[in-house]
Subunit: 378 residues, 2 copies
């Protein structure tokens, strides 16, 4: 297990240390150093109930959270290292090109039989990935709803044998905002070869059917599953013909390739703005704004169906993503007439609060409606 | 799997529905109702980018989170049901007395071989339990630190094959505050017979050694593991001789019994106040305040060693709980000289920010110190 997160060199160091350390430890025990540390800890612990003066030179010694200016913490986060600036004339890349991931992964799985990619017959190992900003939300209740949201995901995943990765790091400053998921997903696929499917889920998407199991077998010949409709993508290139707030991505070369194809519209600034204009022009009903990952995927599938289409499953049989606006007012009707386990319009698997933006200053909808409905959903 | 959270009656209902529903579903598909719903969803979804007027009669239609008064949400939480009021003259109880839990549990495990209480040789199935208030914190950054804290626990538990239960419900209004964990723990033990050890961890305790694996075998003959020192409990009855912010409790009759013994000092009001006076009188160095669960446990062990002592392991070999005050200033020294995997004073498993109270209005320590150090810990 240590090998999974310590380098081989470090693991060997630890083994050597343990071997050499045994005699030293034995002598230490004999000389009874432990009671001394006990006394030190106990004395310190006894002091824990009395206010201590800070020892880290902080000027503001107030114990009052309401008065505290959180920006003092951020100011100190600059560690002095110069931020890496990519040459903007070079095309953006998520990382060094990998062309043999299927073979690398197959080898790894063979060498690590204790980490199979299927945890039961026909049940793939799934990693649910979600996250939020490393900074507090821009309003007093946003983080509370993020907390409710992760609790909701913890509950679903515990029931369904799914692991969770909660990201709070910005891996690439150029790919901020909705694009941040791309570098993260690539990194996780490569560092977790045992994972068969990565399930990305936005922080504003909640599970509303704890009983529904994703029909994994349905996707055995597909690599990318999103809620959406074929006609709306391939016929209309409608910008909301699919949703990238909740999707499944298989851990394979094909996925690395589509991530590489997806990323170039993402880098913030001129690239993202210009790409936004193209997307508004090319897609049906898209408003004017910078390029977003969802529109970019619509564009890719709509223009390169032959290349990618056969491995993409646009799922409309259940709500892998369910737009909250058409669901939340029907909850009572659903409870009256149906039951959990259906996952679809009768009892949606996921209710996705698109546009509510509870972590920001402003949302696209009245705050009270969003928060009340989120409370009902979880 | 459905049986685990649906009653047998409901599960049979679902099975009947599925059988009867197959023909109906087939006909529905033939009549192609799906495109109609697609159109409805698509139209609604297209509206999702435009502000909608609220349909739930909310008066405040502001989209501005900073202006929103969260108390409007709480006001509506009163569902009109009369709150249960226990007769205060009767002794408090966590629930109906159970005397044969070991036999019940053994039978359940036998009937459910797919849910073993050991997930690998000598590795028990563990459920880590933590939680926080269902209401937002009383200051703008508290929930953000709760979020960081649960992410920290998610990371450790994913690496160590431990499941998580995040509680945001107050199960018993009388047992509010630090006592809230008791009804929760009892309920979880009984509803999760597959769990061998329940690991309670406060929301202000963080994992600071991702590599350290708890030495489960050490506790094979014990039911209750807390960080602490025998001398400080059995000789001194020192109120901080152990810590109940992070402990392991085996799922067995003995544990139900000690929970029953532990609970009576908890009910808020006169009982808790009077118990607090007794504890201050009887324990070493305890300040004056209402009864807390930690002091109560010190008292129980200190006065009933013969009854409980042989199954209690007071662990001081590593930091199952590590008081932050004596650890955080040494992080750089630890990084310089040691490595993860030690779990003790050289690289503490858990750093517990006792007294910081990041979810409240005031803590026992300067806010800046607490928050900065919490950031360093995670």
């Amino acid at each position: 297990m240590l090998d999974r997160f310590l380098s081989p060199r470090r693991a060997r160091q630890i083994q050597r240390l343990l071997r050499n350390g045994k005699l030293t430890l034995f002598c230490l025990l004999l000389t009874r150093t432990e009671p001394r540390r006990v006394l030190e800890e106990a004395t310190a612990a006894q002091g824990q109930q009395k206010s201590s003066s800070s020892t880290d030179g902080t000027e503001n010694a107030s114990n009052n959270y309401a008065e505290f200016d959180i920006r003092k913490i951020f100011k100190d986060e600059d560690d002095g290292t110069e931020e890496f600036k990519r040459d903007p004339s070079l095309p953006y890349s998520l990382g060094p090109k990998i062309s043999d991931w299927d073979q690398q992964r197959a080898e790894w799985l063979k060498m690590n039989p204790n980490f199979p990619n299927f945890i039961a017959s026909k049940k793939p190992r799934v990693l649910l990935v979600t996250g939020s900003s490393p900074k507090p939300c821009e309003n007093p209740v946003g983080d509370h709803y993020l907390l409710k949201s992760i609790k909701n995901k913890i509950d679903y995943c515990r029931l369904h044998g799914i692991e969770i990765f909660y990201n709070m790091a910005l891996l690439d400053a150029e790919m901020a905002g909705f694009w941040a998921k791309l570098p993260l997903i690539r990194k996780l696929l490569l560092s977790h070869p045992e994972v068969e499917f990565l399930w990305w889920m936005d922080s504003d998407a909640m599970f509303t059917d704890m009983a529904f199991e994703v029909p994994w077998e349905r996707y055995k010949d597909h690599n990318f599953v999103m809620h959406g409709w074929n006609e709306m993508i391939y016929d209309q290139k409608n910008w909301i013909g699919l949703n990238t707030g909740s999707f499944l991505l298989r851990n394979c070369q094909w996925s690395l390739d589509i991530l590489d194809t997806w990323a170039p519209m993402g880098p913030k600034g001129k690239v993202r703005e210009e790409a936004g204009k193209l997307l508004t022009r090319e897609l049906k009903d898209r408003p004017v704004f910078e390029a977003d990952d969802q529109s970019a995927m619509v564009y890719i599938l709509g223009t390169q169906k032959d290349k990618w289409g056969d491995k993409v499953y646009l799922e409309s049989g259940y709500y892998l993503h369910g737009y909250w606006g058409i669901l939340v007012d029907r909850y009572e009707e659903m409870i009256e007439n149906y039951h959990p386990g259906l996952g679809d319009h009768r009892w949606p698997l996921v209710t996705h609060f698109v546009g509510c933006k509870p972590c920001g200053k402003f949302g696209d909808y009245p705050v009270e409606r969003c928060l009340k409905q989120m409370d009902r959903a979880v």
